[in-house]
Amino acid sequence: MKESIKHLTNHERKHPLDSYLRKGMIPHIWCPGCGNGVILNCFLQALKELHFNLDNLVVVSGIGCMGRISGYINADAFHTTHGRAIPFALGVKLAKPELKVVVFGGDGDLLAIGANHLIQAARRNIELTVILSNNFNYGMTGGQCGPTTPLNAVTTTSPYGNVEHPFNAVYLAAGSGATYVARWTAYHVRNLVDSIKKALLKKGFSFIEVISPCPEIYGRHTKHMNAVEMMKWLKQASIIQNKIDPIKAEITQNIIVVGEFVDKEKPEYTDLIWGKIGKVERTYHKE
């Protein structure tokens, strides 16, 4: 088996997930060792395991390294402006509720410039799956500090140490009303695939935070670690604690509590809106 793989050129090699990738967009722009590739792989794996019909999927993203993911998936996809993927996705979902709409974004996109949309969408409990790639800094623009950068961390815009306290994204999402909330790291591939599958089937707002290594920028400048060291760090720092209260889902550079924290039921926004429309329409035409 090994022998035959050796003789294949790169061109001839087929990956079992190839048909899930958009033609003409690969190679992707991500740096070697970036966790975004792991997230993409897990997402496609989840689709495969669910036998998901890609014609019913819409992938929406904002700006940043993670923003490019929508281009790589062989489904209807839209690359919006910085922070605005969620309200765009909301418009799509309401207009065509039969579609599954998934939003991808980085910590800058979803927790800084677009944070208001995140909490408002969670509050409404609209059936969207939002997958956050948290790498603790702005990778694409060169390593500036952001809403998840740890206190005192040295970045290109916090050369004397960061003076801001970071968000705990799962606590924020859960507190805002999300009905499915989980956190994994790029090391937890199998758990992440399972969580994405659950999120895709959730009738409500589902939110998954993935702690993602950014070896090229955050690793190099702040943590002084390469890709392999970052993966080892994620493995060592993380503790699986399913079902704990998200307020206790600690996240520091030494301890990263991962697991599935929220999975509950609540009336869903698209259902509520279309339910009202149905009722009003019937009375209106009876009058």
Binding site: R22, N56, V58, V92, E281
Partner: protein, 382 residues
């Protein structure tokens, strides 16, 4: 029995009511907005009416999300709009650029109030006329229609949707607090007499579809989410396949097409009203509320024996250069009343400079009156 969605009949209503009903008649089934004076009564009407006609009304967290959800709904295949006023428009600016770049049909109504900043929420102005043209960064052309009556709030809203769909561009309805809140007669025709336009759909199978490859009219056919085309659209500069391409050639070709698809179709987009222009020596050029006063000025002036006429801009953008240039070259005096410090006059001057062009800016609250305009004419022609 299913009631018709279009409320055919005669009404005595506010401009904002007419705008909402015009949108419904045009086929709008998605309305998203954030409360703001003087556009809120459009939202209130839509909140009531949208569910009756099987459409969606939502109020979101700000104007940014309002327009973004409109863009999303449009790509899901539904005609969609939002309405706002100055501060809300300022928040929408980046999303307007996205709609232009991704060629998203949608309608944005701007009920102008005094600015900058919070300004005069309950007073009319025309201070956004250049903003709607140039809001987003980058090169593009945009369409803007300026109703001057309650009836036109209805008629031009339908036209705005039709143009947005046909040319795949955000289309503005530019009115002001007076037109928004004035009550006048509105006649809503029978549904079959209302012409509506839908975006072109691709005629090729998904394997052959290039989402940004234009037809001869420079407009690409549009597939929507869930139709099996599996397309990708981005605010980045993109080639015909929709894929990002940072080359100078693609940037040049894309921005040229975004401009040319409007410029080449000006004849279809531009409408003006010519009022007593045949022998006019003094021409008033106006749009929206001041055009109401200007019409009166022409009537009074004519009674006094003055050769006055009005060129009313119904389409403000693309600017009716040719129409204005022709009139300006034949006139002895041009007066441009507008409810700002003098904005559209720049375009009038750019179109021609043969006759003296007098600005009549009026800012604050009251629109120009017929007699004020008349006095300027008399002063400059005697």
């Amino acid at each position: 029995m299913k009631k018709p969605d279009v409320l055919t009949g005669e009404y005595f209503v506010q401009g904002n009511f007419a705008l909402a009903e015009g949108a419904i008649a045009a086929g709008c089934r998605f309305y998203s907005a954030y409360p703001i004076t003087p556009a809120s009564s459009i939202a209130e009407r839509m909140a009531l009416r949208m569910p009756q006609v099987g459409g969606i009304f939502i109020q979101l967290e700000d104007e940014i999300s309002s327009l973004m959800s409109v863009i999303g709904a449009s790509w899901a295949g539904v005609k969609a709009m939002t309405a706002t006023s100055g501060p809300g428009l300022s928040l929408m600016v980046e999303s307007i650029g996205l709609a232009i770049m991704t060629e998203t049909p949608c309608v944005i109504a701007d009920m102008m109030r005094g600015g900058p900043s919070t300004g005069q929420p309950t007073k009319p102005s025309q201070q956004d006329v250049l903003q709607v043209r140039w809001a987003a960064h980058g090169d593009y052309e945009i369409i803007t229609l300026a109703p001057y009556s309650v009836q036109e709030m209805f008629d031009l809203t339908i036209k705005a949707f039709n143009l947005a769909e046909k040319f795949r561009v955000p289309c503005f309805i530019l009115a002001d607090e007076i037109i928004a809140h004035t009550r006048e007669k509105l006649v809503i025709p029978e549904p079959e007499k209302i012409k509506t336009v839908d975006r072109k759909k691709p005629k090729v199978p998904p394997e052959e579809y290039l989402p940004f490859k234009p037809d001869e009219d420079l407009v690409p056919p549009m597939s929507c989410f869930g139709e099996g085309y599996r397309f990708y659209a981005t605010g980045l500069t993109h080639d015909e396949s929709g894929h990002p391409d940072m080359s100078a050639k693609t940037q040049r070709e894309l921005t040229s097409r975004l401009c040319e698809k409007i410029r080449k179709n000006k004849k279809e987009i531009i409408t003006v009203e010519k009022y007593f222009l045949d022998d006019a020596e003094t021409v008033i050029i106006a749009f929206g509320t001041p055009a109401r006063a200007a019409k009166e000025t022409v009537k009074i002036g004519r009674e006094k024996g003055l050769k006055v006429g009005l060129l009313r801009l119904i389409t403000v953008w693309p600017f009716p250069e040719e129409e204005v240039a022709k009139i300006v070259s034949e006139a002895k005096l041009i007066i441009v009343p507008e409810m700002n410090q003098g904005q559209i006059i720049r375009e009038v001057k750019a179109a021609s400079s043969t006759a003296p062009i007098i600005s009549f800016p009026k800012v604050g609250e009251e629109p120009p009156t017929p007699n004020e305009i008349l006095k300027i004419i008399e002063k400059n022609t005697s």
